[in-house]
């Protein structure tokens, strides 16, 4: 095994792993409003501030809308900025999410993914982040607390990369990851500082034909995000799409660099393939459910069933080409959605994975499983049933129901 940097095993939950990563990443400003199941992140981080363990400016805001407004403003001045939210809090940020990505502010935010009301529910699903998939933020969904820690550190490099300059959301499943204690390998402060470096700025053309680093500075004034009329608005949106395209390469580069440093890698940074090379039936999912699916695959492989997993780690930018390549030889695919797109004939992940496979010369059968809403547990037995359904589809060459509800009482 390659030599990697010194690390220390600590028992932390997902939220604490986030706070630790932020503490080590030399963050200038944290502006946040607590909400379950994210609360531990901001509680833990305010402890660090109170104890003088960090010199971060901590802003207690009166709402999540204000929290994101403060983060955007701080980021625009050149600060490295972090915040965290979930569910209704993220929904309240909705307007500011677009302003932040539109202003190309590389804010990093952890989302302890939780259901949306009504009825009120504080438990895990992906409804909150999926509702923000078109907000111009990069979205990464982690499988375990270790990946949460690693992804937050990587997120600053991705967001602040000169070819990207976009905000990043790291999703950790509410309670399943946010509140569950795991052994996590923690890097030294110096290693993290060395990896995240200091924030860099592209040079931009400002008024009167002058060029300055892209940040608000009284000595070098510029106007960011003012009104753009129909003759220019479209052009700015096209730039954001280009940045997303660039992020696809940058996320892979950062994943490689991080792997060399720590010995840990998450697929290619975009997707992770598990026993997929010769798989005939495959599950596609995001987040912590991948752990359960892997355990089921190992069991099924013992009995000779060629089952595999494709975990989408980066959902925005959506790695459509990589997904098509990975699933090109598979016979049947079950896409799992932990949120609903009401009236949409299946969930968001299903729509996009199916779209990614459309141009393949031979397309696999693709069906959808909505699961785990409002924190409902998804057992290995249920995952086995999904693989069983896929086997039946391959045998009969027939799809009876396109969209299934896994673990729902009928």
């Amino acid at each position: 095994m390659k030599s990697v940097v010194k690390q220390e095993t600590q028992a932390v939950n997902g939220d604490e792993a986030v706070a630790l990563a932020v503490k080590q990443a030399d963050v200038d400003v944290v502006a946040a409003y607590p909400i379950t199941p994210q609360t531990i992140i901001v509680e833990k981080f305010s402890e660090y501030v109170s104890n003088g363990e960090v010199d971060t400016e901590y802003v207690c805001t009166e709402s999540e809308h204000s929290a994101m407004a403060a983060c955007l403003a701080a980021s625009a001045t050149g600060a490295r900025v972090f915040t965290a939210s979930a569910s209704a809090g993220l929904a309240l940020m909705h307007e500011m999410l677009f302003v932040t990505s539109g202003c190309r502010a590389p804010v990093v935010m952890a989302i302890a993914n939780r259901a949306l009301s009504a009825p009120l529910n504080i438990h895990g699903d992906h409804s909150d982040a999926m509702a923000e998939r078109d907000s111009g933020w990069i979205q990464i969904y982690a499988e375990n607390a270790q990946e949460v820690y690693d992804s937050v550190i990587q997120a600053f490099r991705i967001a602040e990369h000169l070819d990207v300059q976009l905000p990043v959301m790291i999703g950790l499943d509410g309670f399943t990851l946010s509140h569950t204690l795991e052994n996590v390998q923690i890097l030294t402060d110096d290693t993290v500082r060395g990896f995240v470096k200091t924030r860099q700025f592209p040079v931009v053309l400002t008024h009167d034909g002058k060029t300055f680093p892209f940040r608000l500075d009284p000595e070098a004034p510029m106007t960011m995000g003012p009104v753009a009329y129909p003759n220019y608005y479209f052009e700015f949106k096209r730039q954001q799409e280009e940045a997303m395209k660039n992020a696809m390469n940058v996320i892979q580069q950062i994943n490689d660099e991080y792997a060399q440093l720590t010995g840990r890698t998450y697929g290619d940074g975009l997707i992770e393939q598990y026993r997929l090379e010769d798989a005939e039936i495959t599950v596609v999912c995001l987040g912590s459910t991948a752990g359960t699916v892997k355990a089921v695959i190992d069991e099924l492989r013992e009995t000779g069933i060629k089952a595999g997993l494709l975990r989408i780690r980066t959902y925005r930018p959506f790695p459509a080409v990589a997904i098509a390549k990975a699933l090109g030889k598979v016979k049947a695919v079950a896409v799992m959605d932990r949120s609903m797109s009401f009236g949409g004939r299946g969930g968001a992940v299903f729509h996009e994975v199916r779209h990614a496979l459309y141009d393949l010369p031979t397309r696999p059968y693709v069906v959808n499983y909505i699961y785990g809403l409002g924190g409902r547990d998804t057992s290995p037995t249920q995952i086995k049933r999904v693989f069983e359904d896929l086997r039946k589809i391959v045998q009969t060459k027939r799809v009876e129901d396109l969209v299934h509800y896994l673990g729902l009482r009928e």
């Binding site: 190309r104 931009v204 400002t206 008024h207 034909g209 510029m222 960011m224 003759n231 700015f236």
Partner: protein, 92 residues
């Protein structure tokens, strides 16, 4: 849109302005335009203070106020505030 508009590859990100607001003439937005009766005007200069676009200036050489109509949006605040009703708004 016209042929002088830049492509998305040529402009700064995040709507950063690459031109000064002085070159963006907002005077053509107006539906109404101020019309001053010099006989009624006492040169009290209240209009120079109230104008939200700093369109009305004191010109010492002329010993009079002057309007920069390149930036007058025709809001009518000057007419409303004028104590002698020297300014009235007319169709532009």
């Amino acid at each position: 849109m016209n042929s002088k508009d830049k492509s998305w590859k040529e402009i700064s990100p995040a709507g950063v302005c690459w031109k000064s607001s002085k070159t963006y003439l907002t005077g053509d937005w107006k539906s109404f335009t101020p019309d001053r009766d010099v006989k009624k005007c006492t040169k009290c200069l209240l209009c120079t203070i109230y104008c939200p676009d700093a369109v009305i200036h004191w010109n010492a050489e002329k010993d009079d106020i002057e309007f920069d109509m390149n930036f007058c949006k025709g809001c009518g605040i000057c007419a409303n505030e004028c104590p002698t009703k020297a300014i009235v708004m007319k169709i532009a």
